[in-house]
Amino acid sequence: MNDVLVRLTVNGRAVERTVPARRSLADLLREDLRLTGTHVGCEHGVCGACTVLVDGRTARSCLLFAGQLDGAQITTVEGLTPADGPSALQAAFRECHALQCGFCTAGLLATAHELLAETAAPTREEIREAIAGNLCMCTGYVNIVRAIELAAGRMRRP
């Protein structure tokens, strides 16, 4: 099995690893870097649980090889968590009960982060459209939509 050298930035920290060429980004994050906040739900790019930010844009970490990301900036849920407590989105997810088992949450936070970075005041329809690539088997999405709406409102008037 061929190994490749990967140099990238994960949550602001430079990372250099030699990994098998077939190592996915999800496995690099979880197995090599022990960043287990990113979850793997389907390994075929549908469920969205493994969503992270690659150079600021959402991406399925199960569908990317670590070796193709040389030089990329990766942000995971750990990187979306401020040192001094939960982010506006994280707090809103808790207040609105937007998670039950919590397995989809990291991916949804990454997706919501991208949405709010581009659209400060999304409508409910825009929120549903944005999160349509993230499956949640527990909540029925109602409270996830509410949480993103609440966080958006707070982020507009800090």
Binding site: P20, R22, R30, E31, R34, L35, T36, G37, T38, H39, V40, G41, C42, E43, H44, V46, C47, A49, T76, V77, E78, T81, P86, Q90, F93, R94, E95, H97, L99, Q100, C101, G102, F103, C104, T105, A106, L109, R124, I127, R128, E129, I131, A132, G133, N134, L135, C136, M137, C138, T139, G140, Y141, V142, N143, I144, V145
Partner: protein, 794 residues
């Protein structure tokens, strides 16, 4: 009481929103190997030869296990309900495979990829046998048999009759006969199922980390199959990423254990999604023939049902799909006579098993579809027909003919509230206008009971003897030496927020806040109190777990008060616990903090009342009082406490594409006292959306050779945020007299009536096209065919 009943945000979410949860795949054991399983490509075949030497030689491979190894090193897995003759079920297939996806060999290697590489080097020679995919074909004489020693594929066949069924049918003005089918689908928890096993050669002891949701039963099976005492087993559950009944397969834990023994290393196995969708557990598909004997005023006199449950190759928990419907087969209606014919049939498909509401979604689909058809036949409004037949509030507690006791609730009021919230009249007007414009709008109503707590004594109906019975759970509450409070529960949560609700209950009893109470994550058999009955199943939290927590908390409370009374030289009756202290009622300033009482209990033990043992810990197990053995006339309370719900929905069918769009979905439910309304509402949303998925999208479809055609999330469609509307929820609150805080089950409620409600709405939308909805899911293709060729509609 201040915290119980409050919408307290969850304690769990602090870690779960920040990526600090600990799910099974996050558990890293030093030196752990990763297992992969080779699975049968055939639905039914004889294993002629199996050669693993080449796999074992691959660098990085530490151990290989086959069915023959399993026979040598373990014992068969016992089914939850014993089969008529023993059918040895090993953790890997022996001699024969009985569904596509059944594991035939396993490899443990340095990582998962290497283990999967090794699987490609295992050679298996199969002699294919005919598949049996259709349950009606499987029960017919001459069908290929999964187990020739059984002589049939039928595990259970019985006819249970209650009341004067023949008389009622003879008296009836008419009989409605219809056949309904339900497909295979599943809750597909986002985290797949798995385990880590570790074997300590010095102690001859095993430790398992697993997201198994029923640890009490699983520990019993592991001990029997590994032939070790339960005292040498430890089972730990971390955070569980959803379960819904699906997460249980003792075979996988055994495979890990045997590989751990062979390799001398901890072994982890976690399903990939293909394995999860194809081989873990599907909700039981089935066929139900329903006959309703009715009067022209709409009164339903009797119900006759023939219910064929397709178990697949289910030896984990066979036969319960029939049993679980029996008690509540009349749904919420006052139907005086019932005949129920049960068939539990093996086929060469993935094992059927528990899935959010097990059996009841089909019960509800069949009965509520029949009610919709009866309303149409009698030209009665479907709401009015239901109101004429409901068990009334003044009849509670009401015993159904098969013996279930509906403990509380107001079914007519629940439907009326739903019609009001839905604006039923307004919706009918909207529908009429839309129809005039040529649009296809439909309104669907479905209502249901939602049982909680399974009484294992009901298995006696099948086996003729009682092995386990009742419904119970155990809990522990402990004030630590520094005054901190810790609680643990034998029921490992899989998203239901028990850490929060248990903290609310304990906080009320001890005069604390939920933030003061640390609740253990999950289950650890070495520290958590537990029973054979322990686990996260049958919607049982409110009917057993709450009593266990309350009992333990109250024992600790009483002891705190006795110590305080002794120290303060007052009577116990004059004391109360509030604001983290025991204080004299009406005498501000006279009291002792819990911290100080803990110091007495653990350190300064000479300060204890005479005869009071040191320590501040209590364990308590609660048995729900409604569970009874099988009664006269084969009546049985198979489930115990009943919530209820009414769903009203509005759909629009697109003529061009056949797409069904859900425009509005209103749920009014009654789960008694809501311990945490925030959590309750979330459960109703999620459960309802699961039911909508079953109605419109989800199906495990097999071809005639037993191959699963929908084995990825590209083919097996789950509801996304764009497929469902904001579920609108309202509630009634009729507390149960038979649970300690009046709470009833809530996790399964939405998934039971939602499929029927959506189906009724689609049929209503297509009323002009003469369509009868007899099965699910209602995909665009099916609707399109109905619209194109209504004569062929089925």
């Amino acid at each position: 009481m201040t915290w119980v009943g409050a919408p307290v945000p969850r304690k769990e979410d602090v870690r779960l929103t920040t990526g600090r949860g600990l799910y099974l795949d996050d558990v890293a054991r030093p030196g752990a190997l990763h297992a992969a399983m080779l699975r049968s490509p055939h639905a039914h075949a004889r294993i002629v030869a199996l050669e693993t030497a080449e796999a074992a030689r691959l660098p990085g491979v530490h151990a290989v296990l086959t069915g023959a190894d399993a026979v040598a090193a373990s014992r068969p897995i016992r089914p939850l309900i014993p089969t008529p003759v023993p059918l040895p079920d090993w953790c890997l297939a022996v001699d024969r495979v009985r569904f596509a996806g059944e594991p035939v060999a396993a490899v443990a290697a340095v990582d998962r990829a290497t283990a999967e590489d090794a699987l490609e080097r295992i050679r298996v020679e199969y002699e294919p046998l005919p598949a049996v995919v259709d349950p009606e074909a499987a029960l017919a004489p001459g069908s290929p048999l999964l187990y020739p020693e059984l002589g049939t594929n039928v595990l259970w066949h019985d006819i249970l009759a209650y009341g004067d069924v023949a008389g009622a049918f003879a008296r009836a003005d008419g009989v409605l006969r219809e056949r309904f089918e339900i497909q295979r689908y599943a809750s597909t928890p986002l985290e797949t199922f798995g385990a880590i096993a570790e074997y300590d050669t010095g102690l001859d002891a095993y430790t398992f980390w697993t997201n198994d949701q029923r640890p009490g039963l699983t520990l019993a099976i592991l001990a029997e199959s590994l032939a070790v005492p339960q005292s040498q087993l430890r089972l730990i559950t971390p955070d569980i990423g959803g379960a819904f009944g699906n997460k249980r397969r003792p075979a996988y834990l055994l495979v890990c254990a045997l590989l751990a023994r062979r390799s001398g290393c901890p072994v982890k196995y976690l399903e990939d999604r293909l394995e999860n969708l194809g081989a873990l557990m599907h909700a039981c598909n089935g066929v139900m023939d329903v006959e309703l004997a009715y009067r022209t005023d709409g009164t339903v006199l009797a119900l006759r049902v023939r219910d064929v449950a397709d178990e697949g190759k289910n030896l984990v928990s066979p036969m319960q799909h029939n049993l679980i419907k029996l008690g509540n087969i009349v749904n919420g209606y006052r139907i005086g006579a019932v005949s129920y014919e049960a068939y539990s049939v093996l086929t060469t498909k993935c094992p059927s098993g528990a899935n959010r509401g097990i059996g009841k979604p089909f019960m509800c689909f069949a009965v509520e579809r029949a009610m919709a058809l009866l309303a149409r036949r009698l030209q009665l409004d479907p709401a009015e027909l239901r109101l004429r037949n409901y068990v009334r509030a003044d009849e509670m507690p009401y015993t159904t003919p098969p013996g279930a006791q509906y403990d509380s609730g107001d079914y007519p009021a629940t439907l009326r509230r739903a019609l009001e919230r839905f604006d039923y009249r307004g919706a009918r007007e909207t529908q009429a206008r839309a129809r005039a414009e040529g649009r296809l709008l439909g309104i669907g109503i479905a209502t249901s009971v939602e049982p909680a707590g399974t009484n294992l004594a009901s298995y006696e109906l099948i086996t003729g003897r009682r092995a386990a019975s009742g419904s119970a759970e155990a809990a522990m509450v402990r004030v630590e030496p520094d005054g901190g409070v810790r609680a643990a529960l034998g029921d490992p949560a899989s998203g239901q927020g028990y850490e929060t609700v248990v903290a609310q209950i304990v906080a009320d009893e001890l005069g604390l806040t939920p933030a003061d109470v640390h609740v253990e994550r999950g289950f650890d058999s070495s520290t958590t109190p537990w029973l054979y009955l322990s686990g996260n199943y049958s919607n049982k939290f409110s009917v057993t777990d709450v009593g266990a927590v309350l009992g333990a908390a109250r024992a600790v409370r009483d002891k705190l008060l006795r110590i305080a009374a002794h120290r303060l030289e007052v009577a116990v009756e004059d004391l109360e616990l509030a604001d983290a202290e025991a204080r004299v009622r009406g005498a501000p300033g006279r009291g002792l903090p819990i911290r100080e009482l803990a110091r007495t209990a653990y350190a300064d033990v000479l300060g204890l009342p005479p005869g009071e043992p040191p320590g501040l810990e209590a364990r308590h197990a609660h048995q729900n009082p409604l569970a009874k053995p099988v009664g006269a006339g084969r009546t049985v309370r198979s489930q115990l406490v009943f919530s209820n719900a009414a769903h009203c929905c509005l759909v629009e069918v697109d003529r061009r594409t056949g797409q069904v769009r859900l425009l509005k979905h209103v749920v009014v439910h009654d789960c008694g006292r809501e311990l945490n309304p925030l959590i309750v509402e979330g459960m109703v949303h999620g459960s309802t959306v699961h039911g909508i998925g079953a109605a419109l999208l989800e199906e495990f479809r097999y071809d005639a050779t037993g191959q699963l055609l929908t084995a990825t999330f590209m083919d097996y469609l789950k509801p996304t945020a764009l497929d469902v509307p904001d579920i609108e929820v309202d509630r009634l609150e009729h507390p149960s007299p038979f649970t300690p805080l009046g709470a009833k089950g809530v996790g399964e409620g939405g998934s039971i009536p939602a499929p029927a409600a959506v189906a009724n709405a689609v049929e209503d939308a297509l009323a002009a096209h003469g369509v009868t909805v007899r099965s699910l899911p209602i995909t665009p293709e099916r609707v399109w065919r109905w619209l194109g060729a209504p004569k062929e509609a089925r």
